[in-house]
């Protein structure tokens, strides 16, 4: 309110106003002096002349006031008057004003905070030239969408005509040595037109050229602004300088701007792909991110149909690799951000509901007040205010509420947004770019205006249509029938919206509870995991790489407090993985029998270290070397998939490599054990078929697939996590090689659940708030009705109605409102929660338990909200009530 009066006085003192005043002053003074001068000329003394001139002129202040009025009160002035009046009215009922402002601020604040996240994550265009023409290309095989093989990419690039540019990259991480300690940084191995495809210019230097993107060239690297700033101390002469990547020297040729992260992978450096002839002929490894820029006259559908034609050609050309293989094209924004849409839209809908409930509550309060203000308004009408003016004035009052609520709401949004950014899921791309900026403020402003209109219009129209004589004739006992109907309707609306929110939150909570009871398939306590990547130059020889990891295991296992240590190509929940096609020996060597399965390369100690229960057969031993029978252990899902109902031990399957007689010469692996399913992709994800092979038997080429990178897994006795010790273990065995993503298994699990917990938490808060607000709504309507009908109640009691009957009437009315809202809400919830199904784990969107529980909670709260007014009704003293007015 203080702010408001300051604003007003500032407006009043505007330049225009004050100039007008001083001009008027000068003009009137001129008149009086001219008149006096004429009188002097006719022989009067100067002093007498001035006196007579003033007398003849008349009261100068009245002239000025009339002059101001004559200039016409402008629309702005009138509005300022209305706003001023509204502010005065509100400051006279501070209780109402505070409740209304806080309710509204809650709605606006929540809506604005979520909107700024949605704006940053989904709505802001990707930071590149004309992002709408940039498309993401994947292969399609059965129901999987893997990356593109280098061979297929090369053929696509040659044959397609739809793209102005087509580039490929794959994510990789690198050991970077630049000035300080070696560090693992994420980056991409990209083709030369990668940068041109996105159309972004470097802030220093240049991209790599087509010539540099050929095998055998001196290594060049383009780095991110972040890497340049944090690791190279923002050295202005960085271009042309050497750094060491994976132990090899490379020259920095360019620095990309801060905003450049086209695939949202937090890439810090890019090196040329320089595919070798061998890679270009490989149609079997599907791992490339392919991005294209459509030509100006080509639509997505046209490009897709061209790809379909090329896919058919490739299927004939490479029947072994490309059988059943197609291509899928998507807008890049969809590919990168599509996963975020559902959750964020759900949040936006939830806060929208919350805002509507808040508005309905304020409208209800206003309707209550408008009753007690009827006389004031009738008086204004009697004094000549037109209905339009009264509506405008009441709307202005609501506008004041809306604006103050908006300001407080934005403050609330600031706070909420910083909380969201601190606790929000790390995996959500661009979340860190959320901020309260011009567009968010404009949104908050629009929301405030919309809300004040929404909650102000009904009461204002109602007041303006009040007939004078009715008001003055009427005592306060007769109940305004239509007013109650509008209010009841608002309460029903609130209850039904709250119920929808509660059902949504209830489903998510139930799903989260179920997930928390999922067995991860191994013992997650006291396990520490970190990732180690050996650089190609020093560790190219498979034997050297294997021995290095084996030495790491030995040294780590000898650490005090460590029970055992092991390596695995991808620890559970580490993300990513290597998918392979298996062919079972007893089912015929036909590609249509191919079963897709995750491959894990493990040291013999892994299953016992992670405590993955062995269900049948035996574990690996150090004797399972490449000169012995090749063996494998499968998980239960894979066993069930290939050999349903049979004992898999002793069965053989082909995979992973080809024998000396060519591609279809099978290399058999014998199943020696079956282990429990491990939830490798997260507790709420389905288990994939998975098999394990020992590190000593892995095909030499597999070192290239896994990038010589493995997860070091250590089980401790429960003591302090030996993070620093593990770093020095790795450094002592492989100098200048860092260990990264080092954390406990429990941390990894909670980080995969971060997103769903976050959604659940927020939605639960919104639902609780909605429930509270709507119970306040029920309470407000009922207690108002009781007040209005005090005399009716008194008469009924005088005529012999029992207290219980009176109480039942009030309770019954409250419960009727709640039940109607409940039914409407249930219908709405059935329609709405279907959209949630992909966020739910083992809970159907129509889950009976949730629907029942939520309905019961709502009815109990409604009952409590109705109880107080009902009790008050029973306390009515008939004598007092009858004398009441």
């Amino acid at each position: 309110m203080i702010c408001w009066s300051r604003l007003r006085s500032w407006l009043r003192a505007t330049h225009h106003r004050s100039r007008m005043e001083s001009e008027m002053d000068a003009e009137l003074r001129f008149h009086i002096e001219a008149l006096a001068a004429d009188l002097v000329r006719s022989g009067v003394s100067r002093q007498e002349a001035l006196r007579r001139a003033r007398l003849e002129f008349g009261a100068i202040e009245r002239v000025k006031e009339e002059g101001r009025e004559a200039r016409g009160i402008s629309f702005v002035d009138e509005m300022m008057q209305d706003l001023h009046y509204g502010q005065r009215v509100l400051s006279k009922s501070p209780g109402f004003a505070v409740v209304a402002v806080l309710t509204l601020a809650l709605g606006i604040g929540a809506t604005t905070a979520i909107f700024s996240v949605v704006n940053a994550v989904l709505m802001r265009p990707l930071a590149m030239e004309d992002p709408s023409r940039v498309v993401y290309l994947q292969e399609q095989w059965r129901d999987l969408f893997p990356g593109v093989s280098v061979g297929n990419f090369a053929d696509l690039k040659r044959q397609s005509t739809s793209f102005a540019k087509l580039c490929a990259s794959n994510n990789a991480s690198f050991n970077l040595e630049a000035r300080e300690l070696p560090e693992r940084v994420d980056g991409e191995i990209a083709t030369a037109d990668y940068f041109a495809t996105f159309g972004v210019q470097p802030i220093a230097g240049r991209f790599f050229t087509v010539d540099e993107d050929k095998p055998g060239q001196a290594r060049v690297v383009v780095i991110s602004e972040r890497l340049w700033r944090t690791r190279l101390r923002a050295d202005p002469s960085v271009v042309g300088q050497p750094i060491r990547i994976n132990g090899m020297p490379a020259t920095v040729v360019g620095v990309m701007p801060k905003s450049f992260d086209p695939l949202l992978g937090n890439s810090d450096l890019w090196i040329p792909a320089a595919y070798t002839a061998e890679q270009l002929a490989d149609h079997d490894d599907h791992y490339l991110n392919v991005v294209g820029r459509l030509k100006a006259n080509v639509s997505l559908a046209q490009a897709q149909s061209e790809l379909n034609v090329i896919a058919q050609r490739l299927q004939q050309q490479y029947p072994l690799d490309d059988q059943d293989r197609g291509f899928r094209l998507q807008p890049l924004a969809t590919a990168l951000l599509g996963d975020q849409r559902l959750g964020l839209r759900m949040m936006l809908a939830a806060v929208g509901f919350l805002l509507l409930i808040a508005c309905a509550n304020i409208a209800n309060l206003q309707l209550t007040r408008s009753r007690s203000r009827q006389k004031e308004i009738a008086m204004r009408a009697a004094l000549g205010a037109s209905p339009r003016r009264i509506v405008r004035q009441l709307l202005a009052e609501n506008l004041v509420l809306g604006l103050v609520g908006g300001v407080v709401g934005v403050l609330l949004a600031y706070w909420a947004l910083s909380w969201i950014m601190a606790h929000g899921p790390a995996e959500m791309p661009r979340l860190d770019q959320s901020r309260i900026d011009a567009s968010t403020l404009a949104f908050a402003c629009a929301v405030a205006l919309f809300s004040s209109f929404f909650f102000g219009l009904a009461p204002a129209l109602r007041s303006a249509s009040t007939r004078l004589n009715e008001v003055f004739k009427m005592g306060s006992s007769t109940s305004g029938g239509t007013r109650d109907r509008v209010r009841s309707l608002l309460v029903v609306l609130e209850v039904s919206l709250a119920l929808i929110l509660m059902v949504g939150a209830g489903l998510l909570v139930r799903s989260a509870l179920l997930v928390s009871h999922v067995d991860p398939g191994f013992d997650t306590s006291n396990v520490v995991v970190g990732r180690v990547g050996l650089p190609d130059p020093g560790y190219h020889d498979p034997a050297v790489a294997r021995q290095t990891f084996e030495r790491m295991i030995t040294v780590a296992a000898a650490l005090p407090g460590v029970e055992s240590a092991a390596v695995v190509s991808r620890a559970p929940l580490a993300g990513g993985g290597s998918s392979n096609g298996l062919l079972a020996e007893d089912q015929g060597l036909d590609l249509s029998n191919l079963v897709n399965s995750q491959l894990q390369i493990i040291s013999p100690s892994y299953l016992s270290t992670a405590r993955v229960p062995l269900k049948a057969g035996r574990d690996f031993t150090p004797q399972d070397r490449r000169d012995r029978t090749l063996v494998a252990i499968v998980n239960e899902t894979l066993a069930r998939t290939i050999w349903p109902g049979e004992n898999p031990i002793g069965k053989r399957f082909a995979c992973c490599e080809a024998g000396p007689k060519g591609r279809m010469d099978p290399v058999w692996h014998e199943v020696v054990g079956v282990v429990a399913d491990v939830r490798a992709w997260g507790l709420d994800h389905q288990v994939q078929p998975e098999f394990y092979i020992p590190i000593a038997q892995m095909p030499p080429s597999a070192w290239d697939w896994i990038g010589r990178t493995m997860d070091l897994v250590v089980r401790t006795g429960g003591g302090v996590v030996p993070v620093h010790e593990l770093q020095s273990v790795v450094a002592s065995v492989a100098p200048a090689v860092p260990i990264y993503r080092l954390s406990t298994m429990q941390q990894k699990i909670s980080s995969t659940l971060e997103r769903s917990h976050f959604d659940t938490f927020l939605l639960a808060i919104f639902a609780t708030t909605a429930l509270l607000l709507s119970s306040v709504g029920i309470y407000g309507v009922l207690s108002n009705i009781v007040t209005q009908r005090t005399r009716d109640i008194g008469i009924r009691m005088a005529l012999g109605a029992s207290q219980a009957q009176i109480a039942w009437d009030v309770l019954g009315f409250g419960m009727r409102l709640a039940s109607i809202g409940l039914v409407l809400g249930l219908v709405g919830a059935l329609a709405a929660t279907r959209l949630l199904s992909s966020l739910l784990y083992r809970v159907r969107p129509t889950d009976t338990i949730t629907f029942t529980a939520v309905s019961v909670i709502l009815l109990v709260v409604a009952l409590m909200a109705s109880y107080l007014p009902a009790r008050r009704a029973t306390r009515v003293d008939p004598m007092v009530a009858l004398r009441y007015e």
Binding site: E23, M24, A26, E27, L28, F30, H31, E33, A34, L35, A37, E56, F57, G58, A59, I60, R62, V63, E66, G67, R68, E69, A70, R71, G72
Partner: protein, 113 residues
Amino acid sequence: MGKQLDLLQGTLDMLILKAVSLGPLHGYGILLRIQQISKDRLEIQQGSLYPALYRLEHLGWITSEWGESENKRKAKYYRLTAAGKRRLQAETQNWNSMADVIAGILGTKPEEV
């Protein structure tokens, strides 16, 4: 100098428009000119001139700018606008026909009814 007449309600605007139609004038000058043309037979309350001036200016019939008076003082001069000119014509016509009608009514003798 004959008897002074009170100004008829609503006629001041017309007189001001007429006065400034003869050339730009400041407020005091307008007053003098009306008195001069009416041969001092109209009594105008000095102060009441200004609200009327501001109203006419607000309506866009006259416009003002600061200039120098005969005795080198700063004064605000009013001028008729195009809209004001039209207004004056309409008012004059209206007044004349109204005056005819009124005069006709007032001049009616009993035998004419």
